[in-house]
Symmetry: C2
Subunit: 452 residues, 2 copies
């Protein structure tokens, strides 16, 4: 008599036509993301893996899989391209990783809005919007591989957030189509605020099938690096550029020395020891941007027109946000990072204070953006010379004591991340509605099932 | 023996081929603008007029006229369409009014930038930019008739300034071609900051021939009115809408009761006694805008898509900024107005305080915009129930005592207006360079010639 079948074996048997990935090394890889940026998460998550990965191609396949998992009680962890940093795609309790990258059709592009299946890569989506002079409003530096669903489920914003704020600002995501995790899965269209209740919940309170997002007009972007001898004028230039209402931009980042020394692929444009400002401004704003750089004593060392960027297939966007972290970690394995947000209007003073307080240990990398309230401020993805987990926790505590908000990137439980604390009732309601059996990556929500 | 010829007769004789306007009633009309909004300016300026008006069609004609005026010592007052409010086009010392509306060719439209002769009407210029999906960044409500040169010389910004700040923010005006007022006029191209030294000087420190301005991507704008029963939620909605980074907009105005009662042409959409918010948002932002209106208890009473606006040839833009004032003054001749700016971040509190302080006498009309520093704030063009010039001065003083900046619209001397006080050295330098004989509307600059 054979051993009883596992749930996974039953799934394979029941749904043989699905694109199953069973090779253990591929399963291991598809169970991970960029959580290795954090030595803490790396220790906690590196051995977690799915029992199987499946890559559905149609809504029917997704529905069949979800229904079967719900009947069999198999956990489901939804995955885009795995470019997240908090183990969003890492199953804490095994089960199936549902790789959405095969479910990637563009549905339509209209003036100001596009709709696509969740597994579409952001770079691919922009190929469809560009012919009508449109682009995505906020994209991560990983836009080439990252998926639309992954950005919505596990991301925040990025390039373009200097104009449109975070992805969660009302108006950026207009609606979505989602599936419940039940034996007979239901499919629902959610609009506006209701749709946002599934945003940045790391795929724990619903399975997003399609997303409808607002678009931005695409300008021809001039990509440049301006370098400075000193911290203060470089930061002042970046802040002035970010604020200037007549200078149209998509991205402004500030790398304090020695961050630029870690960007090996740009070394010829970044003199050793420099402080650098990376920006994308509309070509029509080049003159006022250069005048501002001159006024702050900056020197432009890199300048590519939109046409040159397109031809070279190399963009400075891939040196911003968490790509800066990635490039630095490639050069120096002892580094890790932080994610901070500063108080609008006090951001320059706070950054300067933190720079002085932690010089040499915390390396300042600042990204300018608008907050949910529309105020211009900064986020920082500081590089940290890692020593111990205790010291890392102390650095976080000291930042918080100085009024700097830390969105701790060294935690993998939703409530410990950006949300900070207990889940709001509307999020819990969504969880109950869309995942009544608690099968979406169990363990990722600490407060689920809700404790009595 | 005949009487000796006047300088004007000499000009006619010397330049017979120019398009001279000599009819006294037309001269009188072309010597005036909307200074009658102010009972103070009306009293001071209504009898001022030119000796002749000339409407050149080519740079050669302008050059010939300017050279002859310089040789003969005839004052020149530069005029666009006369939509200004401070007597910008009213000659204080007679001479020639140089009507630029015949010098109105489009030179080119490129991605992000357009260049045209100064006399082009803004509405006409937008007809040339629209085919490439572009529009002007900041336009006054008078855009149908107002000229590009007039906006630059006597204007501030307007619709669109909620995104791009005032016209004077670096990046909005990229360059210009100007002529010196000399017997042999010189023609010079000025770029960037140098060009801005002729901005808002009311045509007193140079004759602008051509302007090069940055453009904005044109969205299909949804025009709407949302009405409220109370002041506070209406203002809160307007402020939230203006700030929301994910809601793309071109215009947000707030009319406190009883301002809407004065907009007779919109009466069917503005219930008696209501407070109203007028906005232009991208059609793709309609849903989040409506959700915000609902959350504040607002009710949409007017809604036109971009297509409907185009077909009807009626736009709500012509009820904003100083058009609000115009519509109100048509209904109630006893009204005049103020121009105020509020402190970013304190603007809602300041507006609320002023509303309470002056209820019934100062009627609140608020326009949202970004300042030069990029911060979102408000400007107000309050309607004032005029009693005496003394009381008007007192109202201004009381606003200033409460930290509200008043750009006094009841003065006609440049130094008393927005610039507030002595002219900066770079402006004086420009005056010396471009108008060494002081022929540009003498009297408009108090400090010219510079007193020893």
């Amino acid at each position: 008599m054979n051993a009883p079948m596992t749930s996974i074996e039953r799934l394979h048997l029941e749904l043989p036509e699905l694109d199953w990935i069973t090779d253990p090394s591929r399963i291991a890889r598809l169970s991970q993301d960029f959580a290795w940026f954090s030595p803490v998460l790396d220790r906690q998550l590196k051995d977690k893996r799915a029992d199987a990965v499946v890559r559905p191609r149609t809504e029917g396949e997704i529905r069949a899989l979800v229904g079967a998992c719900a009947r069999l009680g198999v956990p489901i962890t939804i995955r885009g391209s795995g470019t997240g940093n908090y183990g969003q795609t890492t199953p804490l309790a095994g089960g199936v990783v549902l790789d959405m990258t095969g479910y990637n059709a563009l549905l339509w592009v209209r003036t100001g809005v596009a709709r696509a299946q969740a597994g579409i890569r952001l770079g691919e989506l922009e190929k469809h919007t560009r012919p009508s002079g449109q682009e995505l409003r906020c994209i991560p530096s990983t836009y080439r591989s990252a998926t639309l669903g992954g950005l919505f489920g596990g991301g925040f914003g990025g390039v373009g957030s200097i104009n449109y704020g975070p992805l969660g600002a009302p108006g950026n995501v207009l609606g979505l189509r989602a599936m419940t995790i039940e034996p007979e899965p239901q499919i629902v269209e959610l609009r506006g605020a209701e749709a946002l209740r599934m945003h940045h919940l790391w795929g724990t309170n619903g399975l997003v099938l399609e997303l409808e997002v607002a678009l931005a007009p695409a300008h021809p972007w001039l990509e440049s690096l301006v370098v400075f001898d000193a911290f203060a004028p470089a930061l002042a230039f970046a802040d002035a550029l970010a604020n200037a209402p007549g200078i149209v931009k998509r991205e402004v980042a500030f790398f304090a020395s020695p961050v630029p020394d870690h960007l090996a692929q740009l070394a010829e444009h970044l003199p050793k020891g420099c402080h650098a400002v990376l920006s994308l401004v509309a070509e029509s704003s080049e003159d006022p941007m250069r005048a501002l750089a001159d006024a702050h004593g900056g020197r432009m060392t890199y300048r590519k027109t939109a046409e040159e960027v397109k031809k070279s297939n190399r963009t400075l966007m891939e040196f911003t946000w968490n790509h800066t972290t990635l490039h630095a970690l490639k050069v120096d394995k002892s580094l890790t990072y932080l994610q901070s947000s500063f108080v609008p209007g006090r951001h320059v003073a706070q950054i300067t204070e933190m720079e002085q307080r932690f010089a040499g240990e915390v390396l300042m990398h600042v990204e300018f953006l608008r907050g949910l309230d529309g105020l211009l401020t900064c986020s920082a993805l500081q590089l940290v010379r890692f020593t111990t987990e205790e010291r890392l926790a102390e650095i976080i505590r000291l930042h918080r004591e100085h009024g700097v908000r830390i969105n701790n990137p060294h935690v993998f439980v939703v409530e410990d991340g950006k949300a900070g604390g207990a889940l709001p009732p509307d999020i819990v309601e969504m969880k109950k509605r869309f995942d009544p059996r608690g099968l979406l990556n169990p363990g990722k929500l600490r407060d689920w099932p809700v404790k009595p």
